[in-house]
Symmetry: D2
Subunit: 282 residues, 4 copies
């Protein structure tokens, strides 16, 4: 579609009087026009959060930069400012399991995602040919000495100017050093309803405990495995007739859907993180 | 709880530049502080909708009245202004089926609803004793000549200064004249996923068609039966083993939950109606 | 309704050739007629499970007793045989929180449950008057020396010939000794999606972790708190605007619905327990 | 996996005494062993339905054929007998919209479906190259004189010995003549919660009516458009911020999931059709 480009700002910081008025007043003063605005105050932490989207009146890059200065300097808020036309580069990490791999690529191709799938990184070769069929650059980085392994991944990330890494059932743990070095958010999909069944083989754990629902959780990866801020979760019903392969099959649909929604929310600039939790403006 | 009273305004009208800024600027100028604000623009109809809630700095009644004047005269918006401490009177209409009757009363007693259940009106006597047990005034208005029947109901509504009527599986159709005369919103619960299975015996219709989900719909009653603006809907899964009594039993839970959520959203001043649709700020 | 009484048998034991044939052949040989039959084999444990319901041709009590002997002696299965007209006595344990209390009582009154609510036991007096209004015997058993406290509860259970205890947000832990002594199943409702957030204050735990769904779990109580076999679970979506009182309010609806379904499934003789898991024939 | 092959029988017909016993007795007499069995009796229509799956003791083809004769001649039931190793040929019809196309193909490749995707038929050329990439034979049958158009499709179906046609958002109506001629089931996915919003542009209809949930329905195609027996349905929540492109995007996920489940249930021999409804043994 030919929708006009808008500016999107995500702001947060200590609450102070008149924030909504000052932000909207600034926009009005440019002769610009607010399309959406949503604010939230955490009543315990006394933190103010806002997502605001507007059609600029003048030169869009200048107005975005100017707003960022206003928000950080004058309002003393933490601000992230983006254009609706931005298409940040995304790297997809995968091992051998391919359902999230195909699903994510097809959604980028279908235009569901406000980003560009720049490259695929894998510790296995199995999906190289599939990636090629889709016309996406594939890097095989086999497991080796850990430092070299991560250094190689880092070179790829930097070469492609990647702004988001998504782990599509990637079976390696990213070290704290690596997460610091890449300096961009990393979204992981875990195949359980966290915090239940963290760690390995969650469908086996679920089967063993006899739960009646299985889940999937998309979260930002942090140095604490499966402990990062949760972005999105969903569940589906199982019954006593379902054996573990049934859980795995049902879980694939959950994982694809939960993973895709988390990526989309992130690329649409709808997520703020604080206190290891997320505010999702949906 | 002892939360401080806030002012809640629901506004809508043709979009115009600077609305968010002017509304938030007005509140800031009073020295008041916005707690929540949510706005929506219908991109087709070019109508602006806003729900805004703030802690007043001065005398609450005066500030609310003053804002209403500002919104209607200066901004030329349609405005509804309420206090979070308001407890408008609610009349519950019921026939013999009692699950929504009990559920609604218990929710009012549990403090889930920002309103006061003022009276119960029924065309049958069956629930008189139950109403008495709950300590709520019960009016038996038997079906009679239609004009007299509605006139009697109208006298009760007016006597109790009712601001909302809720139809808890009330099996009589309210005439267009009556709806005009009561001059307050009426929320009905229909036991299907409208527009599927409008009219009578929806569970029988659903069983006959062989659908795999049954639903319930809460909507504002209008002169067109089952055609009013939809507030809330939900569904539940059924299977081939379920006979009609199973559908009725499963449906009761749906009806209670959907009806309650619609009443609560209305009493929390979260619903705007336009073009026979609702905007629900949840 | 006037449905004819049926016999319901729940069987389980090591799998062996011809079980379905021998069971259905026995019934056919009586001239009786199977209404429903569902069987399940655990492919790992090699255990056979069956729920079978039939219309007897002759004297129902004799046929039920005769079948039980056939199943246990000839087939060497563990068997539970009941009549669809049975209405086992149920004791409801409650403390002060009353939403599951009201909901459960109203469902018994509405005929949703194949049982009889015989008495209410509470460690508080608060709900005595409400119980009386419903016409149900209420026992106040205040916390005291633990042995005496449980002995008093046990006397009540035995006096009423109770066959099922349901814990409607009962805030005391039942000891292993008590569970042995009552010798009947006990169903508990826990306000989280177990195994996540076991223990106290699960809604606070959920809020703190930042999950996007909250849940409720009905399970059989065992000596290991929150570790018993899970009967039913469900979840509902929450968002960043929801504070703990919202979680509690939304959770009430979940708890009522999950608790009620577990009780109904149990009373309809649809649950078999093995390996700390349930087989639910729904 | 290396699971042993089983025989699956779907039976239905007028209820008669001893059916379960006679069927299970027959299997026991062969020395074979029942793995699953599920039966259902429609209490209104007095029709008996059964799905039964067993491990044969002897030669599997002979035992299957022998059972079919027993079921039809001796029991006078309508019977469909299959082997769990059967992989019937499936034809996928598609136009230009490609989400169900990709999703269905990937599921066949992932081994989720007990069938073989034999060919793709389209009235457009757009997906020819994609089909080739997947290595599946693609037929472009452009719209022409209606008789010739359907004759050409029929030749393809017959050439590939197709046993199931699936319409993955195929935008042409199949004539009654064509449905008779192909003589195999046809599964369609409709993008609404039928019977609501039958016909064209259901997401536009849903948006216009202001419903709070959108749905998808998989059904067997019949000569009456959108009126065939429903196999599976699901819904997802929408809100006032969602414009029609949002409904279309959310709907794609629903359509893929509902369509895939219907195809899988059919290929697993879990569906019986009668009175324009389905019995789904899941």
């Amino acid at each position: 579609m030919n929708e006009p480009t808008t500016i999107i700002a995500l702001l947060y910081g200590p609450d102070q009087p008149g924030l909504v008025s000052r932000v909207s007043g600034w926009i009005y003063a440019q002769g610009s026009s607010i399309v959406h605005a949503d604010q939230h105050e955490d009543p315990e932490a006394k933190i103010f959060f806002q997502r605001i989207e507007w059609s600029p009146s003048g030169k869009i890059q200048e107005e975005a930069a100017s707003f960022e200065e206003f928000a950080t300097v004058d309002l003393k808020m933490t601000a992230r400012v983006a254009l609706s036309s931005d298409r940040p580069k995304v790297a997809l990490f995968v091992s051998k399991i391919d359902h999230c791999f195909h699903d994510t690529i097809l959604r980028f191709r279908a235009g569901e995602m406000s980003g560009e799938l720049a490259c695929i990184v894998s510790n296995h070769k199995e999906l190289a040919q599939e990636a090629e069929r889709y016309g996406i650059k594939f890097y095989h980085v086999p497991i080796s000495d850990s430092a070299e392994f991560e250094a190689e991944q880092l070179r790829i990330i930097q070469k492609h100017n990647v702004k988001l890494i998504v782990l599509a059932r990637y079976m390696q743990i990213l070290s704290s050093n690596f997460l610091d070095a890449v300096d961009c958010p990393v979204i992981n999909i875990h195949h359980s309803f966290l915090p239940a069944f963290a760690g390995g083989k969650p469908y086996h754990q679920a089967h063993c405990r006899g739960v009646k629902l299985i889940g999937a959780t998309a979260h930002y990866a942090t140095a604490d495995l499966d402990e990062g801020p949760i972005i999105h979760q969903d569940v589906t019903r199982i019954n006593h007739r379902n054996v573990i392969p049934d859980l795995i099959r049902k879980g694939r649909d959950l994982e694809k859907s939960v993973f895709a929604q988390a990526i989309r929310l992130h690329l649409d600039n709808r997520i703020l993180v604080y206190n290891n939790k997320t505010v999702v403006f949906d």
